[in-house]
Amino acid sequence: MTIRTPHTWSIRRRVLGWLFAGMALVFAANLITSYYGNREAVDSAYDRVLLASASAIAERTAVREEGVWVDIPYAALQMLASTAQDRVFYSVSAPDGQAITGYEDLPLPPESTGRRGAPNPYFYDAVYRGAQVRVVSLRTFVIGNNLSGFATIRVAQTRGEREALALSLLNQSVIWTLVIAVSGGFAAWLGISLGLRPLDHLREALGRRSPDDVRPVLHDVPKEFKPLVGAVNSMLMRIDNGLNAMRRFISDASHQLKTPLAGLQVQTEIALREKDPNTILDSLDKINTSVRRTSRLAKQLLSHARAVESPGGLGNVDLSRITREAVSAMTPQALARDIDLGFEGADSAPLRGDATLLGEMIMNLIDNALRYTPTGAVVTLRIDQNEATIITVDDDGPGIPADKRELVFERFVRLQESETEGCGLGLAIVQEIAASHGARVTLEEAPTGGLRVRIEFLSSQISGPLIMPSPQPSALASCTAPPPPSLESSPRGRGS
């Protein structure tokens, strides 16, 4: 089942994309902070050596007869010999600021230090002789010969090794970050592949199915795919229902139409053998009646099939108006049988539903009442709308015994004692349409003693989609074909 959509994408690629985007952000932030953290740590480590050098010089700083005296120890500068072989500068100045020895132009601290309150030792960055340098300024107290105060020793070192170490630490972080990213990506790729494997099984299982196999999918799938499989299953169920309905319609239709067509054939053959024009005319009249009956049967089969299928246009309808229209449409037939067909009740009964189906339902109700009540009967339709909308059809005919009432909803069921023609689809259609509107159909005894068909729309406003009834098992055996046309006893002038 491959459906090519114009925009295809891969879960794996999308998940990995988001994963890497997220990781990239986290890692970039991590690298930036770790670089500055490293720099600080590296600085504080090397600053200690710088301070040791300055302290070694400070120890050899004193006041002699000729003034401040300093003897730079060999180790003071040699200890700064590092692997990156940084350049080294130093200077010593007397308490009065007079440079004594070393690089006299070595930069001073950025702000006024050497004053009281400045940190001692004081570390700072500067540029000297075209290079970035780290400087320590150390003040040391000297006294002697009427001279006392703080001599300042400054030792500077180019940043080469510090930068090299900070960079190598950063490189290590970068390498580890890449290792983590790659293994994370690999793990995610593997995880997604394993996670999607049940879908592959599902696809294979569905692929193996025959085209008409619409059983629900019962495979074990990950939690995330349960809703999808549920939706697929419910779709399969609907397809199954549709298929069943279609099969039933086809078998019903062929079954139901076979008999009247056979009758027609017999009648035509009889008519063809006749010589007497009057008899031929009479035969034609009978054929006409049979054709009309067959046509009605076909119509009913179609409307039943339509009711079973998904209703089409769902809208706001007025049940009262639909009923009035149906009553007036059926009035000629009622008059033909001298039946008093009447409507009472609300002027309007708003409802959500399918106008065509509801019309069909009411026509079938009236048709049913007219068909099974004797001449001169009274048929009354009534609509009440309170919380629920209720439509009742009362007649004063023979009624249906309580124990048979459920039976008449089956398709093609006609009660044996019934003498009238019909195929037994009427109430089945009513039932299907009512159910698809969420309404309930009950058969009761009318106050006049006849049959009352009561349809209750459970809420006055049906909201949401129409509910499809589950199809009933076919009950073909009970369907009786319309009585075979007999030339003698067929009543005339009765249409349906």
Partner: protein, 359 residues
């Protein structure tokens, strides 16, 4: 002199030749036979005679290089190179000097350019600083004595022995011992200060030398001359490279490698920051450090090769074999700046003068 026919003496110029100033100023050009050669300017403190084989061999490898070889005093190399670079004037592309401290100061003060190659990578740590200063020789500071006149000086192998002899073998070395003058000779100052770093015994020796009215000279050659003529009996802290050649000529002379420890100095090559031909300078450094260059240093130049994989007379390997005690090479690094400190220098020289002024 017969130094190969393609080399000609061009100028032998002495700006000021006086008896008081031994400062050299000599320029020799080694012409190229190529039509449009590039010029490599070398400021060097090593005698032209010792370098000529190296220069000729280099030109055989790189015939398109014309070499201007300026023979200068070590202090002149330092002063000229730094002031020429400060003033933006053309200067030597390559500076070769035996004043290790001054060369290190040039590097530390930012006057040197980077250079690295397969050859520089083979150098030991102590002989390469910042890939800017490269040691290319391995020259011991030794004692030379006249064994014809005083064979018993063979027994004197340490500084302590020498001081004892000066103190107790009363008189015979009076006025007949010579050493470098640290006040007038950069190399003498370098050896003296590093002796002082090694041991306090040095000051005992210095006082003894002062007692015996040591003769203070400015070059190894002069000291060896004096020992050779018998004017002096022993010379302390003479460059082994110079002594070696002279001992070969004069069987009366003998060399003692001090067995307490032996300082080893190294001539330093560096490329000027503003060199106009740094490529050729780099090629020359690589040549000095190559097997072929080191072989010439060990043999023809007799300057003691630094590399370990060289066969020959004046090699580090031979020296190690001959030495009874440790060889202590003077490390390239910021430590060398210490004794350039003016107060430190003043202090050291004051102490030296006090030692000399005894009696």
């Amino acid at each position: 002199m017969h130094w190969g026919n393609k080399m000609r003496w061009l100028i032998a110029l002495a700006a000021t030749v006086s008896f008081l100033s031994p400062a050299l100023a000599e320029l020799v050009a080694f012409e190229s036979e190529v039509a449009d050669p590039q010029t490599l300017v070398i400021y060097s403190s090593t005698d032209t005679e010792r370098m000529v084989h190296l220069l000729n061999a280099f030109q055989r490898l790189h015939p398109n290089v014309r070499i201007e070889y300026h023979l200068l005093d070590t202090l002149d190399i330092y002063r000229r190179a730094s002031s020429e670079m400060d003033d933006g004037k053309p200067t030597g592309d390559l500076l070769l000097s035996s004043a290790m401290d001054l060369q290190i100061k040039l590097v530390n003060d930012g006057y040197a350019a980077n250079h690295s190659s397969v050859e520089t990578d083979t150098l030991p740590d102590w002989a390469n600083w910042r890939n800017q200063a490269f040691g290319f020789t391995y020259e011991p500071a030794v004692m030379v004595y006249n064994k014809a006149l005083v064979p018993q000086l063979a027994e004197v192998t340490t500084r302590f022995d020498l001081a004892q002899s000066l103190t107790f073998d009363v008189g015979y070395l009076r006025n007949r011992i010579v050493t470098y003058d640290p006040e007038r000779s950069g190399l003498g100052y370098l050896f003296g200060t590093h002796d002082a770093i090694q041991s306090e015994d040095f000051w005992y020796l210095a006082r003894s030398l002062g007692d015996m009215r040591v003769g203070l000279e400015t070059s190894s050659a002069t000291m060896i001359d004096k020992v050779s003529s018998g004017e002096a009996l022993i010379a302390y802290n003479v460059l082994g490279s110079y002594a070696r050649a002279r001992v070969r000529e004069n069987p009366d002379l003998a060399i003692t490698i001090p067995s307490d420890y032996c300082l080893v100095m190294s001539r330093i090559a560096l490329i000027s920051r503003t060199a106009r031909n740094p490529e050729a300078a780099g090629l020359f450094i690589d040549f000095l450090l190559s097997r072929e260059g080191q072989k010439l240093i060990a043999n023809a130049a007799s300057l003691y090769s630094l590399r370990d994989d060289i066969q020959g007379e004046a090699t580090a390997a031979n020296l190690r074999q001959a030495a009874q005690g440790p060889l202590i090479p003077i490390r390239l690094g910021p430590g060398l700046l210490v004794y350039l400190d003016k107060m430190k220098r003043r202090e050291f020289l004051a102490r030296w003068r006090r030692a000399m002024a005894r009696e």
